[in-house]
Amino acid sequence: MNVDDLEELADKHRQEQAGITTEVRVCTAASCQSSGALPVFEALNANRDEQEHANCRIKSVGCMGLCSAGPLVAVASTDAPLAEAQLYRDVSAADAPDILTSAKTATPLERLHCPNDMPFFARQQRIVLENSGVIDPNSFKGYVAVGGYQAMVTTLTEMTPAEVIAEVTTSGLRGRGGGGYPTGLKWSTVAKMPAGQKYVICNADEGDPGAFMDRAILESDPHRVLEGMAIAAYAIGANKGFIYIRAEYPLAVERLKTAIRKAKRAGFLGHHICETEFNFDIEIRLGAGAFVCGEETALMASIEGGRGHPRPRPPYPAASGLWGHPTLINNVETYANIAPIIRKGGNWFAGIGTEGSKGTKVFALAGAIRNTGLIEVPMGTSLRDIIEAIGGGIPGDKAFKAVQTGGPSGGCIPEAHLDIPVDYDSLKTLGTIMGSGGMIVMDETSSMVEVARFFMEFCMSESCGKCIPCRAGTAQMHELLDRIAKSTATHKELALLEELCEVVRATSLCGLGQTAPNPVLSTLRYFRAEYEQRLRHQDAA
């Protein structure tokens, strides 16, 4: 199969839908489901009359982003982007007949109208999420119809592995799991290892509190991730892939399984993919609920069937990974960026974003903010834009206090620094990290000591127990933070807390321990007064 054959196939799939002019899309991703999207979907199907609504179909789609307004329903022409759709918010099953009538007559339903020209939608640039909320995640044909698998077929039939890696390197893509390691460099390192058994792993063990980007991508557009993995496998010379996904994401797992099954049946995974010499198979491995298994060496130990413990690096996975073989491990969002890079070229991608951080980044907005949900913005967008324009600001006339990025490995950014551009390097100078993309917004009622205590409790209970500084250090730091929060601690104890932060950061074995002190250090940096206010004053030296 070459690119023309694929285009023919896509045409065929589009023709099958030729009679349909209007789609009623219902978001059935996890967050809309939790606010009642399934009854809406069923009601729409029940109310749809074969004759009367012959050119209209009800389509289950993935995340449209504005989770706080869910369940979301969009009425649009076939495969039209979200910006051209008529969007309805807070839909209930009772609204089904009205929505169908308005879809048929093409008159917007004012009652449920959700403006999609508001900054939340207008300020976004969707690359990773281009199909999210547009295609049916369970439909292989739907993905092909919007140009899916084009990038994979192009690489397999027209590009050498070295050209693929060069394209990814040109794009300037950096790992989206949090580390920000240049993806092209990682790929070429694994590719340079001697030929033989190699593996590709997709890290979908998203565990940061408040982060749900990977879940939404997998629930909305699973084939995109498979395609990215297959291209990576071709580039580095692997024939086997694993997706390590947490068991707490049952819907994403279900949709991934469906996607893998359908891709295999169509010959897009498995042996002799698209009648080429390339073989690639993907297996799903479920994580059993350990945050540390998002750390690459622990993740691999878990895939091998062992206890999810990190091990010292080097050797890095690129040299000795799964069962000692060279292994490429990337995050879901990283793989989701690959197909567009191949389709539109590395230079196109490198034209988006900032000097050191190219492309877009998906963020999960949560906490004290009007528009919670999923957004994708170009790197370099300012935090103020994200929080005030896109996020709609703080609800209830309260003042902004801080935004937490990077989960338990990250830190809090105060008002004074809201104008910095969001990219890997700027966030680092503020004492936090990009992380996987969780953003928790806090208003003036939040206590920063309690925020630090929350994250420390998380790190303490997620520490694997292998190395002493992380195992015993996080427990001690949590105890100290608890005492400070309860106003029973002394100045001496605050000094001990700072000392432990330094030791745990410098001496822990893996990233979990090394970054566990970050929430404390960053809140101390910007909100030290809050800590000191809570100390017992008679001990002041």
């Binding site: 010292p312 520490s463 127990g465 190395c467 030791v503």
Partner: protein, 242 residues
């Protein structure tokens, strides 16, 4: 036990440790070279003859002009390395780590069967820990005396996993394993059954001999009486690998 060795052509490198010029095979780790030349580096989980664990973080060393610390047990030597093993910063970190251990469980030397023969105790003295300024946690841990010859006191366990590794790698029984995570981590026999009921334990006692503290001991020993002998290990380990 060294890290897996490259197949062919092992080269010799020269490096500097604490200002001393030394030569080493490139497949040696920093701790092996230090031990060979009598350069003291504290460690708890590392033991010649067992696989590398890298958990105690006491053998961390500094490279000149680099901020990042490296574990001497899991880092191979390289040409031109300039290693510092005993800087003020390292001493401070080691003291804190040892204190964290003392505060984590209930190490009461005066009543311990290993008093005077305990690696943790020696380590603390060597690191200059004369008092613990980290609050003790005083959590209760169990003692399992169900085995007719040996006893495990979890109050004195530092989770170095030497017992796991010797049982798995040298004895080949894999009676020991780990359960739980973080502070709840503990070593277990079989599937967390009493040691005495273990169907896999061969009662060889290797775990007792390699245990650095008074956690694994012989039954019938009283305070200060438990003296351990680990000389069997390098000999057995080399026989296993040749």
């Amino acid at each position: 036990m060294p890290l897996p060795k490259p197949q062919s052509n092992v080269h010799v490198v020269t490096l500097q440790i604490d200002g001393q010029d030394l030569s080493a095979r490139e497949d040696e780790t920093i701790i092996e070279v230090c031990r060979e030349h009598g350069i003291p580096i504290p460690s708890l989980c590392y033991l010649d003859g067992l696989s590398i664990h890298g958990g105690c973080r006491l053998c961390l060393i500094e490279l000149e002009e680099q901020n990042r610390l490296l574990a001497a047990c899991s880092t191979r030597v390289a040409e031109g390395m300039r290693i510092l093993t005993n800087t003020e910063r390292l001493q401070r970190y080691r003291r804190t780590i040892v204190e964290l251990l003392f505060a984590e469980r209930n190490h009461v030397c005066s009543v311990c069967v290993s008093n005077g023969h305990c690696e943790l105790q020696t380590l603390a003295q060597g690191c200059g820990v004369n008092h613990v300024h980290i609050p003790y946690r005083y959590q209760r841990y169990q003692v399992d005396s169900s085995h007719e010859m040996f006893r495990i006191d979890h109050n004195r366990c530092v989770l170095c996993t030497r017992c796991l590794r010797v049982c798995d790698e040298i004895e080949g029984a894999h009676t020991w394993d780990l359960m739980g995570r973080g502070s709840d981590c503990q070593v277990i026999t079989d599937l967390a059954r009493p040691w005495g009921d273990s169907s896999t334990c061969t009662s060889c006692g290797k775990c007792v001999q390699v245990c650095p503290t008074g956690a694994l001991v012989k039954q019938g020993t009283s305070a200060g009486e438990m003296v351990k002998d680990q000389s069997f290990l390098p000999i057995l380990a080399r026989r296993r690998h040749h």
